[in-house]
């Protein structure tokens, strides 16, 4: 038996994410709605067409459900598994899959290279796994793909579990070019092409952007003038600019790719956000000024004699040092949770269409999914903005230089 994913069980968590996002964006969305009332007729027509389509799709799904019912899996579990599978990284790039009449799963996509470190480098194509259905045999070792992770098994592919239903098989170090790595490479290449051509167009047109550059230039300027300059300061903002720009567009583009039907969930992956947050952390602390470190270890400065500081500092200094780690930690959790929650909500709403199976419920959940999708497009931009903004803020703390005496630094550091 497969362990059902935990995320969806926690209904209150889901509801919390949904409510939070909704409350944050409902006013914006409402304004948008009033603005677009001119286009209402088109919108209504579109919704009507969508209604027809979703119900048509939902009813065949019912038939499928009966088939699966025979196999002992109900629709809800299947949807849960589908969503949790979608949220995970995978070792092949599947565009879509369908089930044949005889119950055979057919996958359309392409395999990606698997790179393992298990007493030596082992490279093979993920097509050997056949989507987890078969074992991959490399140099006499057997590997099994189980819940998107690669385990070392014996020739029969036995997976041993502990009492919590966790596999106890050895896990080789997995450096595979997974779907997420693939998307990082694609996004990287896209950004390189986009922005180097923008740079070239500047050189060609005497400092005037052309084409898509007209769209991206204001964003670059916004990051410079409204994120970097006010938060870091005129003197030192320049050296942080490349990082801020790269991280903003990287997160934004990957968030937007997450909206595509290919099921990319890069920024909603904890490893990715951790890597990004650690970069921010490293840059913050390696470029920290003397005043910044003074603030960490001597937050009260000269306002107290040393014997008065000792009892306070027993508490204060650990808090300050903890703050160093909490700041990037909040960054990584915020981005991860927002993107993950967005995907779960959309996935669940789409799944609801197949659960309702009615002329009312399915279009309704389609409408909801559509609305949430629109919000997610906004969230994609907003999360990239927040990550960049907060990184800039932390860099600002790291580059603080007090003229001791007037302390007009915003006390956001302690929030």
């Amino acid at each position: 038996m497969e362990r059902p994913p935990k995320i969806l069980e926690n209904k209150s968590l889901k509801a919390f994410f949904f409510l939070r996002e909704w409350l944050t964006f409902a006013p914006i969305f409402r304004d948008r709605y009033f603005l677009s009332e001119m286009r209402k007729t088109f919108f209504t027509r579109f919704l009507l067409v969508a209604m027809l389509f979703t119900t048509q799709f939902a009813f065949p799904a019912e038939k499928e459900n009966e088939q699966h019912g025979e196999q002992g899996k109900d629709l809800k579990t299947e949807i849960k598994e589908y969503i949790s599978h979608h949220l995970k990284d995978s070792h092949d790039f599947s565009l879509f899959s369908y089930t044949k009449e005889n119950g055979e799963h057919k996958y359309v996509g392409f395999p990606l290279p698997v790179i393992l470190w298990d007493d030596g480098l082992k490279v093979f194509s993920s097509s050997q796994f056949h989507h987890g259905e078969t074992l991959a045999e490399v140099d006499g070792q057997y590997y099994k793909l189980y819940h998107s992770k690669i385990y070392k098994t014996d020739a029969e592919g036995t997976i041993n579990y502990d009492e919590d239903h966790h596999p106890t098989n050895a896990k080789p170090l997995d450096f595979s070019i997974t779907k997420n790595v693939m998307m990082i490479i694609i996004t990287g290449l896209l950004m390189l092409w986009l922005f180097s051509s923008l740079a070239r167009s500047y050189a060609k047109n005497n400092g005037v952007p052309t084409g898509i550059g007209r769209f991206f230039e204001p964003i670059v300027l916004y990051i410079r003038d409204d994120i970097a300059r006010p938060n870091i300061g005129e003197k030192r903002y320049k050296k942080y600019m490349p990082f801020l720009l790269t991280i903003f567009f990287f997160i934004w583009f990957l968030n937007m790719f997450g909206m595509t039907p290919f099921g990319v969930n890069v920024t909603g992956n904890i490893a990715i956000t951790t890597a990004l947050a650690i970069l921010t952390f490293v840059i913050t602390n390696f470029t920290g000024t003397k005043d910044y470190w003074m603030h960490q270890f001597n937050p009260l400065g000269d306002s107290l004699p040393w014997y008065g500081k000792i009892p306070l500092y027993i508490i204060l200094v650990p808090i300050e040092l903890l703050g160093l780690i909490i700041k990037p930690f909040s960054l990584l959790i915020r981005l991860y949770a927002n993107m993950q929650a967005g995907h779960i909500v959309i996935g669940s709403l789409i799944g609801l269409m197949f659960i309702f199976k009615s002329w009312i419920g399915s279009p309704l959940s389609f409408g909801l999914a559509f609305a949430i999708m629109l919000i997610e497009v906004l969230v994609a931009l907003l999360q990239a903005y927040i990550f960049t903004m907060l990184s800039a803020l932390y860099f600002g703390f790291a580059s603080e230089e007090h003229d001791h005496g007037h302390d007009d630094e915003p006390e956001l550091a302690h929030l």
């Binding site: 450096f175 997974t178 790595v181 990287g188 922005f195 740079a199 400092g207 720009l245 790269t246 490893a271």
Partner: protein
């Protein structure tokens, strides 16, 4: 938390860090640096152009002020010149008047002197002529008187009579 740790993939973390660092470096080198430089240059250019325009405007104002000043100066100078000219004119006129008066007086004096001397000469001339004429007359009269004895006699007697009377 347990789920998060379970989801954490070291390989993905490794690739993300590596690829992102690479992307950061490449974009820094080939995109952000030239883009920010171009934008900066452009802003700098705009700022410079605005400054130059402001400068030109100021210069323009300066030039206008200068020309006005010059005009004023020129006017003042003209006034001064005119005044001087008037003064000179008056001076010349009065001098000329004075000179002409002096000259006139001199001429008049000379004329008077000449007239005087002429008069004297004329008087002297007249005197001489009168003397000559009287001599001639006297000669003629005496000749007449002395033409006959009687008359001579009479004359002598008259003369003698006059002398007596004296």
């Amino acid at each position: 938390m347990e789920k998060l740790l379970e989801e954490f993939s070291l390989g993905l973390f490794f690739w993300q860090t590596l690829l992102f660092a690479l992307l950061l470096f490449l974009l820094w080198k080939f995109a952000w640096k030239p883009i920010l430089k171009a934008v900066n240059d452009r802003e700098e250019g705009i700022k410079n152009a605005l400054d130059a325009a402001e400068e030109a405007k100021k210069e323009m104002q300066n030039v206008t002020a200068d020309s006005e000043k010059l005009l004023k100066e020129a006017r003042a100078e003209r006034d001064v010149l005119l005044k001087e000219a008037r003064e000179i004119k008056e001076g010349i006129i009065s001098e000329a008047k004075e000179q002409s008066k002096v000259e006139g007086d001199k001429i008049i004096k000379q004329a008077q002197a000449a007239i005087e001397s002429e008069k004297k000469a004329a008087v002297a001339d007249i005197k001489a002529q009168v003397a000559n004429l009287s001599l001639d007359i006297a000669e003629k009269v005496i000749k007449e008187e002395l033409s006959d004895k009687k008359k001579q006699q009479k004359l002598i007697e008259d003369m003698l009579g006059d002398i007596k009377l004296n």
